[in-house]
């Protein structure tokens, strides 16, 4: 006897065929269906009509009329019955017309039978069909579409607490995860139009193909809502390629993890927070989207601390880190546009990030002075004497951004001004200079090297409206063996 069983997925259900003629779908728990019972009786005995009646709840309804019981709601579900009564016209097994609710003129025209329901009111609206009842929605979804899920089913043992079971199997990041039941995964998959078995990416380090479905499973675990799934899918694609090199980002002893920067209309649509505490906790979308990506890396790719992940210290953002740029308050073009994407498109930009560092400057009113403060802080990314090897993100807070806006500096000018202030004289940064062993080789003592490679400094506008602070986030090694930031479109 095995202790954890892999349950067999349910057999696929096929749409029950519709009989030709008129088909009525009703339920007793609907005043309008009860009202039209005499009309159904008239139609049943009309010579020009073949009528079939399907009842959703009570098999004896309608009284005095023979009907079939759609007890598992398969017929109603598969034929998209949203209202009862619904009257369908079927020819050759195919629906060619339908009306809903009760309206004498409409029913007479549809059926071709005159004088229907004498004594009844002219019209009466219908009620909700049981197949769209919110209380039944999850069960019906699992019953009729659960078989589209291909993931291995795991049946938890009777004494297993479902939350502890996730920890016991090593599927969490140390925090609880939402158990990914079939119903939850199906609900999550409603957040995308992509087919569940579409392969999204090949995930390092084990190089496993991950489907939309598997991403959805991990998104459920992370605590995402279905509407976040497109962002998660884009992030998985953006991370799992040679350019971003998630394998390197994972395996390094440096502290970095993937940071997801979101641009475009989706930020507002899913309620992300780009204001107060943008880099911190408290907003569900901000907190769960990055976590879903990390759970995919961990669970599908096999990338875990102490195994492939050898970070000396790591950083708290490795639980998951996803931030939206504040575009609405920004004096500049969005990061996505700066990276070559059309305005108005929703995108993710992946950056290999260490933890954030605050830059204080509460006195600079002049853009040049503020840029000099920023440059002093940026110079120390990873080490003040190491140029070119690392990229960085500069998150400019709104109060600081205003200083640059008042001086008329656009994004490109800000970056150029920072670059001009980050030309490092070789003599200051060679090994041994300043009493520090680190640095560049002695033979470069007469060179001048920029702190960042061209395009190596990404500027993002975000943060609360009060506070003369900005944030520097150092990156990982760039170049062929390192990681490049990657931007991808978010599609539904």
């Amino acid at each position: 006897m095995s202790v954890t069983t892999t349950a067999t997925p349910p057999a696929p259900t096929v749409a029950p065929p519709l009989p030709d003629g008129l088909v009525a779908v009703v339920k007793r728990e609907c005043a309008t269906c009860v009202l039209v019972t005499p009309v159904l009786a008239q139609l049943a005995s009309a010579p020009s009509v073949t009528l079939s009646v399907f009842t959703q709840d009570d098999p004896d309804f309608p009284d005095g009329i023979s009907s079939m019981h759609d007890d598992d709601l398969a017929l109603s579900w598969h034929h998209d019955i949203e209202t009862v009564p619904t009257l369908l016209r079927v020819e050759g097994g195919r629906e060619v017309g339908r009306i809903v609710g009760w309206s004498r003129p409409e029913w007479e025209a549809f059926t071709g039978v005159a004088d229907l329901g004498p004594g009844l009111p002219e019209w009466r609206p219908g009620c909700g069909s049981l197949s769209v009842d919110p209380n039944l929605a999850d069960d019906l979804r699992v019953r009729f579409t659960g078989s589209t899920l291909r993931g291995r089913r795991v049946e938890l043992a009777s004494l297993e607490d479902e939350w502890e079971a996730m920890f016991d199997r090593g599927w969490t990041d140390g925090l609880p995860v939402v158990p990914p039941t079939e119903a939850r995964v199906l609900r999550m998959l409603e957040g995308t139009t992509r087919h569940p078995q579409d392969v999204v990416a090949i995930v390092p380090p084990d190089l496993v193909a991950v489907t939309v479905e598997k991403v959805a499973v991990n998104a459920v675990m992370a605590g995402c809502k279905p509407e976040y799934l497109p962002v998660v899918l884009a992030a998985v694609e953006a991370a799992c390629n040679d350019e971003f090199n998630i394998h390197g980002v994972l395996a390094t002893t440096m502290p970095v993890g993937p940071l997801i920067i979101v641009n475009g209309p989706i930020r507002r649509a899913i309620g992300m927070n780009s204001g107060i505490n943008v880099l911190g906790q408290g907003n569900r979308a901000n907190s769960t989207i990055g976590r879903a990506l990390q759970l995919v890396i961990r669970n599908v790719g096999g990338g875990r601390p102490n195994e492939v992940d050898r970070a000396t210290h790591g950083n708290p953002g490795k639980v998951g880190w996803c931030v939206p740029e504040d575009e609405e308050g920004s004096p500049w073009t969005p990061l996505s546009v700066a990276r070559g994407f059309p305005a108005g498109m929703s995108t993710v930009t992946l950056f290999p990030a260490e933890g954030p560092r605050c830059v204080v400057d509460q006195l600079a009113r002049d853009a040049g002075q503020l840029a000099t403060s920023f440059a002093a802080a940026l110079r120390t990314v990873h080490h003040p004497k190491l140029p070119l090897g690392f990229d960085a993100v500069l998150v400019v807070g709104p109060e600081h951004a205003r200083v640059f806006a008042d001086a008329g500096w656009n994004r490109e000018q800000l970056v150029a001004e920072l670059d001009a202030r980050l030309q490092l004289p070789g003599s200051e940064i060679i090994r041994g200079a300043g009493g520090m062993a680190e640095g560049i080789p002695e033979r470069l003592r007469d060179a001048t090297l920029p702190k960042f490679r061209p395009g190596g400094l990404l500027v993002v506008h975000a943060g609360g409206g009060a506070g003369l602070f900005s944030t520097v986030i150092g990156g990982w090694a760039n170049g062929a063996i390192g990681s490049q930031p990657v931007t991808k479109e978010i599609t539904s």
């Binding site: 095995s2 202790v3 954890t4 892999t6 349950a7 899920l149 993931g151 291995r152 089913r153 795991v154 049946e155 938890l156 043992a157 009777s158 479902e162 079971a165 016991d168 199997r169 599927w171 158990p179 990914p180 039941t181 079939e182 995964v185 995930v203 084990d206 496993v208 991950v210 479905e213 598997k214 499973v217 991990n218 675990m221 759970l295 669970n299 599908v300 790719g301 096999g302």
Partner: protein, 92 residues
Amino acid sequence: MSTIIIDPTGERSVVERTLTERPVSLEGRVVGLLDISKPRGDIFLNRIEERLTGLGAKVLRFKKPTFTKPAPVDLRHEIAMQCEVVIEALAD
């Protein structure tokens, strides 16, 4: 009714929970003997202790207050902090 979840992994390994990795030998290891407090179990464990000491293991003895319930959390912590391997006996 038991809960069914969808496997979040790449499905490369078995779905059953696996036992923790065992050491190659007990020589030099701290082995805890947990007596569930049923009669005669102590005689049994005394002999197991002798044999383990003979293998070069260091043996610590623990006793549950009653065999009718799982060990109290404090006892589990004590055992977990001090022992590398545990043998629980003797249920009849």
